[in-house]
Amino acid sequence: MNAGIDVPTIERFGALYIASARLKSMSKWRTIIAAVDIGNPLFYLIAVGIGIGVMVEQGSGTSGTNGIKYIAFIAPALLANTAITGIMDETVFPTIEGFKWRKLFFAQNSTPITGRQIALGVYLAALCRALFSVIVYYILLLAFDVVNFGISILLVPIAVLGGGAFGALMLFAAAKIEKEDQFFNILGRLVIMPMFLFSGTFFPLSSMPIYLQPIGWISPLWHATELGRESAFNYGISTTMVVVHLVFLFTLLVIGLVLATRQFERRLSK
């Protein structure tokens, strides 16, 4: 071997090699990604800001939303949801593709790159994608005067954290499943949709019947939304709850990544 392969360096940076390959392949879709990332928030801001929001406020003023404009109230949730769907797209599809459809992971794993690094690389690239989407969204929120520039910039890392917690679990799930068609049905209809509707997205969780509230408690979207509201406009949640939200999201993220990296290693070494 005279190519000068430096294994310790690969052990340190392998995940970044994978992430950069993933980003490169994402960049082929950059026009579509950009169109979705700009178009989607625009529709919401126009529909809710001009339509639904006005109606809600005519009905009950801003009393239901702690005195916050309705569009501003739901903005942190929309932002976190953007991170969640972005990360999901970039973990679930590449993972199933890598193991099953095109078997790219097996090629990567025949080099010094490990399964763990492949998992982390896919995840990092997905985080980058989510970060991009969220930043675009945040700029639009500023442009539409929904939030003021300042401490509200914390909305960005909070949304990415929410997406990251959910995405880590998705990375694991996608590596675990063998039959993907059922998986997509269940994921879309029984996870994503209810999570979006019942995470205090459109009204405070506390105004829902108590038996529905647990959906919010376990939902990364709710935790990220609450944190986001607090950072954007002094929503008035306690410091304890801030800590609870943060701990919940970080715990989910770590558990998801541990499970995912193990599952990647296991499936590649069959």
């Binding site: 071997m1 005279n2 190519a3 000068g4 392969i5 430096d6 294994v7 360096t9 690969i10 052990e11 940076f13 392998g14 090699y17 994978i18 390959a21 490169k24 392949s25 082929k28 095109r102 078997k103 790219l104 097996f106 090629a107 990567q108 794993n109 025949s110 080099t111 010094p112 790159i113 490990t114 590649l268 070494s269 069959k270």
Partner: protein, 308 residues
């Protein structure tokens, strides 16, 4: 063998209850060209994946360059070039992008890879396709690219799982020639194949496998010498009559195999045997005298043909 580059003892791999590789022992010396020959499902690819430090064995020991591949996966794989049975190129990338990105996974510098790519394009005869997306290549071209990709890191050991499947005869011979040159440069080759001629051409030593076990081991010539006669007389009497004449033929040679379409008679002198048969009043519709091959060794060991 003193200081083998690869050594396996009692190597076993199970999938659930099914034993795909059953307590296999072998060594491969540095610079050697070692073959695994066997029919579908013999366990060749399973062994190759274990040697590639990607698949975990169920039991037994394996050492590659003195290291257990399960404990030192990245370190071992840094020395390997792997050509899997099924191409797993990235169809959305071009030929050169595939080589480039794979080289990056070995942590190689851009400059090194760029130079290497020129050499590999020539090796795979894909210069004209360099900027073509891989999904637009023919099957044989993809195969050649996969082999070239395995060489990007200048491996010490090249693992080739059915390298020439899907190649046209000319490409096959060119590949044999290139592999031979790599061997001269000191690269150790481990390859699997269904093709006896390929095994005879390329392998210094090989094992004949069936159903997860090694049936025999040796150089192609020694295996033929040990398990077969010098010549083989192939006779056909038509599918109905083959069975009829078989008992009588059996008395005339050392050993005989009755296949559905023909009878193989093992002997030191095929022409003489054919004369004897004709004298006895049996007239074969076609006959052929040839030298024994690994196919005959395999038939002897397993009672089955290699390619069914």
């Amino acid at each position: 063998m003193s200081n083998p580059l690869i050594s396996a003892r009692g190597l076993t791999k199970k999938f659930g209850d099914f034993t795909a590789v059953d307590a296999v022992d072998f060594d491969v010396a540095k610079g050697e060209s070692f073959g695994l020959l066997g029919p579908n499902g013999a366990g060749k690819s399973t062994i190759m994946r274990v040697l590639a430090a990607t698949s975990q064995r169920t039991s037994g020991t394996v050492e590659i360059l003195g290291k257990d591949p399960e404990l030192f996966g990245p370190l071992v794989r840094a020395h390997l070039g792997v050509v899997p049975q099924q191409d797993n190129l990235d169809g959305e990338l071009t030929v050169t992008e595939n080589l480039y990105i794979y080289g990056r996974y070995f942590g190689l510098s851009k400059k090194f890879i760029s130079n290497k790519i020129e050499e590999l394009l020539e090796f795979a005869q894909l210069e004209e396709k360099r900027d073509v997306k891989v999904e637009a290549l023919s099957g044989g071209m993809k195969r050649r690219l996969t082999i070239a990709r395995g060489l990007v890191s200048e491996p010490d050991i090249l693992l080739l799982d059915e390298p020439t499947t899907g190649l046209d005869p000319q490409a096959r011979h060119i590949l044999w020639d290139r592999l031979f040159r790599l061997k001269e440069q000191g690269v150790t080759l481990v390859l699997t194949t269904h093709f006896m001629d390929e095994a005879e051409q390329l392998c210094d030593r090989l094992v004949v496998m069936d159903k997860g076990s090694i049936m025999a081991e040796g150089s192609p010539a020694s295996l033929i010498k040990q398990y077969s006669s010098k010549e083989v007389l192939e006779v056909r009497f038509g599918s109905d009559r083959n069975k009829e004449v078989a008992p009588q033929l059996a008395t005339m040679c050392e050993r005989m195999e009755t296949l559905p379409d023909r009878i193989l008679m093992y002997t030191e002198d095929g022409e003489k045997l054919l004369e004897k048969i004709t004298h006895a009043g049996m007239h074969a519709t076609t006959s052929l005298v040839r030298r024994s091959s690994l196919e005959d060794v395999f038939l002897r060991l397993t009672g089955r043909t290699l390619i069914e």
